[in-house]
Structures are given as structure tokens and as C-alpha cells.
Symmetry: C2
Subunit: 226 residues, 2 copies
Amino acid sequence: VLECTGITKVYGSGAVAVQALAGVTARFLPGEFTAVMGPSGSGKTTFLQVLAGLDSPTSGSVVIRGRDITTMSDRELTDLRRDRVGFVFQSFNLIPTLTAEQNILLPLRLARREPDPGRLDDVVRMLGVQDRLDHRPAQLSGGQQQRVAVARALLTRPDLVFADEPTGSLDLSTGSALLDQLRTACRTLGQTIVMVTHDPHAATYADRVLLLADGRIRQELRAPDR
Amino acid sequence: VLECTGITKVYGSGAVAVQALAGVTARFLPGEFTAVMGPSGSGKTTFLQVLAGLDSPTSGSVVIRGRDITTMSDRELTDLRRDRVGFVFQSFNLIPTLTAEQNILLPLRLARREPDPGRLDDVVRMLGVQDRLDHRPAQLSGGQQQRVAVARALLTRPDLVFADEPTGSLDLSTGSALLDQLRTACRTLGQTIVMVTHDPHAATYADRVLLLADGRIRQELRAPDR
Ligand SMILES: Nc1ncnc2c1ncn2[C@@H]1O[C@H](COP(=O)(O)OP(=O)(O)OP(=O)(O)O)[C@@H](O)[C@H]1O
Ligand SMILES: Nc1ncnc2c1ncn2[C@@H]1O[C@H](COP(=O)(O)OP(=O)(O)OP(=O)(O)O)[C@@H](O)[C@H]1O
Ligand SMILES: [Mg+2]
Ligand SMILES: [Mg+2]
């Protein structure tokens, strides 16, 4: 459902150029849960942003459901992301002036679709933020903000979910519950999940782990039974 | 060097009041490294902000070097924080328009003190951000931003260091190196460190762990040899 070939990404130019990705090729199947791990600064966030069409690679192609997104117009890309992609950002990117509930519903409103109140209720209860819906981000703890960002990404059940360290601000039991829900969404809804994590425990919920270092995939690890 | 007695903190009022802290009493000694753990939303960030004088408690007192900070004027509190306290925020709070280096030097500049170039160089190399000093926060990875925030807090070797999940965005080896440096600063410089963490591995670097739940300290754990 998603593949990338020969992705490179260079930031800046000349003496201060940073080669964030140096040739990455990968395929992601329906229902597959992939973890991406690697040292700080190895290119994981850049990788996710290029795969999700939030940033363009310097070279290489990204194909989603048969279409090369690197050649799409801005308009087509925006529509595709709105309909097919959920993204949990490493620093959450919540709108400070909106409440938690408004933040969660925002992508749906932008798509001019009606929220399904039953679905909203399920998602917020699943993430344990049901009694913080009228708080703004500044009135939430770090872990509550993170869970609101996850709810926003999962609400519409998008085909592709990109999660950049979704349990980084959560205690072990809240984080494990979230990872369980992600894995279930893969199994039962056929969603494709790509999750960056620094936490080896979180990686155990995935079907495979891609190890990134210096902008390249060094190794792919798979548990024996998957 | 630091103690708090009967700290409560209520946000909001009436039907939407949130009791973030419900009576916390604790003492912190020179050279002591304390970890604070607990579920998401249990009051850890609120606790740190009250201890550091960044927020005022609803009731109770906080005494730093014999002075009750809850009765200080804003001016005295600002001076005390500037001279005695380093704070690493859960969401870093870097200034987006300044470079990494400018962010790290900012507290010193505000105190109208001259940076010691040797000290700056030591701190940035210790945290591995020496070749990102002219990047602005948006041009840094999540873990690099976190390390810049830590450098800013440690530069002046303050007596009291409050760190809100300082390794949340770091891979295991970068995080372990940082924790090692924090522990060394306690042992050799006599700094007092209070670190919120969700990571049990990070807690092993501390002398003791305070477990917070529902705004109270439930338990104190100490390793046998400390
Ligand atoms: N300005 C505010 N107004 C209302 N409630 C608030 C405000 N700030 C925090 N809270 C609430 O106070 C409680 C404690 O928040 P705090 O940020 O201290 O938790 P925490 O233990 O640091 O959590 P985490 O591990 O998720 O960072 C949370 O339930 C939060 O929703
Ligand atoms: N806009 C930019 N301009 C210049 N360099 C950048 C920019 N954005 C990122 N970088 C650099 O690209 C490299 C990869 O960054 P990226 O955010 O992908 O790392 P990461 O693996 O997600 O790290 P972390 O685990 O710390 O979040 C880093 O060395 C970073 O400094
Ligand atoms: Mg990142
Ligand atoms: Mg917190």
C-alpha cells in the first residue's frame, strides 16, 4: 500500500548541508505494524514526513496506492493526506487556541465531514482523555497532549498511520494500552502503521523493526512468529 | 537545600476544578539525585513547577536555602531562579527565532553575565550538539532540541536542577550518557537534581524515587546502597 525507493533528503546547502536521508527503500503492506528505531538525529522524523507527503525528498519516489506522491500537485496531496493519512507528530502540533475536542475533530471539519459522536466517544475513552475534552493544550499534562494528538490521528480510521514516538510522554501502563490499540487496529481494520520509537518495549508490539542510522536503513528485524 | 510542606495546587474553580496536587511534603539535600515517577496526569510537572517557583501553590510553602519562595516578590523570585535554578521543560520551550547556541546562552545573557567559552564548549560536547549550534529549533531533531534544552539548564551549574523527562526523546545510549552526566554533577559539584521520568531505566541513576499518584507522594524508594 506504501513504498519508497531511493529516498534522499538534504537540508540546507553548501557548507552547512545536512544529509538527513541517504538512500532509503522500503515497502509497507496492509495490516502491517512497522517500528522504526535509531539514534537521535538519524533521520527517523524526516523519513516519516517524506512517507506521509509532509515533506518532499531531494530525490527518490514515494508511491501510495499506486500513485507517486512526489509528482502530485499540492491540492492532490492535501486531499490524499486528508483522506488516507493520520499523523502523530513528535511535538504533537496541537492548536493552542482550540480545546482538546476541537483539536481532535479538526481534520474531519477541514474535510467537511460530519463527526460520528459514537466514534469520537470510543476514541477518547480508549485513550483516557474523556474528562479533559474542554481543556486547551496548555491545561493538559504532557501525556494528555500526546494522547489528544493520537486521537486526532486515529479518529477517521485512515489507511496509513504515521506515529512519531507516540508513547514518549506516557507512563508504562498508559503507553502499553495505546500500543495494544494500535496493534488491534492493524489486525482488525487492516490499517498500516509506521511508528518511530526509542523504546524497545514499544517495538515489541510491531511486526518488524527497521533500524535507521546516518540516514540509511541498516537492518530489518522480525520476530520469529510474524 | 530545598523543602516543601503541604503543597496543594488546584487549577480552575467550581465544577471544572482540577486538584493537581493534594498535599505534598518533601526534602531535597545537596548532592542528592531524586527521580519522580507516576502515571500521566498525576501532577509531576505541576510539582516541579511549584518547587522551582515557576508556579505558585494554592496552599503550602516552598523553602529554598532558608527562604520561603511563596512569599517572595516577583523580582526576588526572578533573581533567585536566575542564580540558583536550571529547568528542563517537558516540551523544551526553546525560542524558535534563536539558534541553539543563542538559546543555550540566553539565561546567562539575561543575568548580564559573560559566557565562559570553555564551559559552553564542554557542555555542548558533553551533550553531542556541537555541530548544530547555528541551527534554529525547527532545524533540529526532537532529541537534539531536548539536548539543547538540557545544555541551557546546566550551563551555569545551578544549585538546583529540575528536569521534566530529560531523556523522553532520546535513544538509549544518548539518554544513558546524559543521565551519567547528571549523576556526576551531583557527586562532584554537589548539585541537587529532581528529575521526572517515565523510564524505569532512567530512575536507576537516581539515589531515590518518589512515586506520585493523584497529586500525592505514595511511596519513596531507595536503592539499598544509597
Ligand atoms: N492550566 C491547567 N488547567 C486545568 N488543569 C490543568 C492545568 N494544567 C494541568 N492540569 C491538569 O492537572 C493534572 C496534572 O498535570 P501535570 O502536568 O502535573 O501531570 P504530569 O504528571 O506531569 O503528567 P504527564 O506524565 O502526562 O506529563 C492533569 O490532570 C492536567 O489535566
Ligand atoms: N530544517 C532542517 N535544516 C537543517 N537540518 C535539519 C533540519 N531538520 C532536521 N535536520 C537535521 O537532520 C537530521 C535528522 O533529523 P530527524 O529529525 O529526522 O532525526 P530523528 O531521527 O527524528 O531524531 P530524534 O530521535 O532526535 O527525534 C538531524 O541531524 C537534524 O539536525
Ligand atoms: Mg525525531
Ligand atoms: Mg508532565
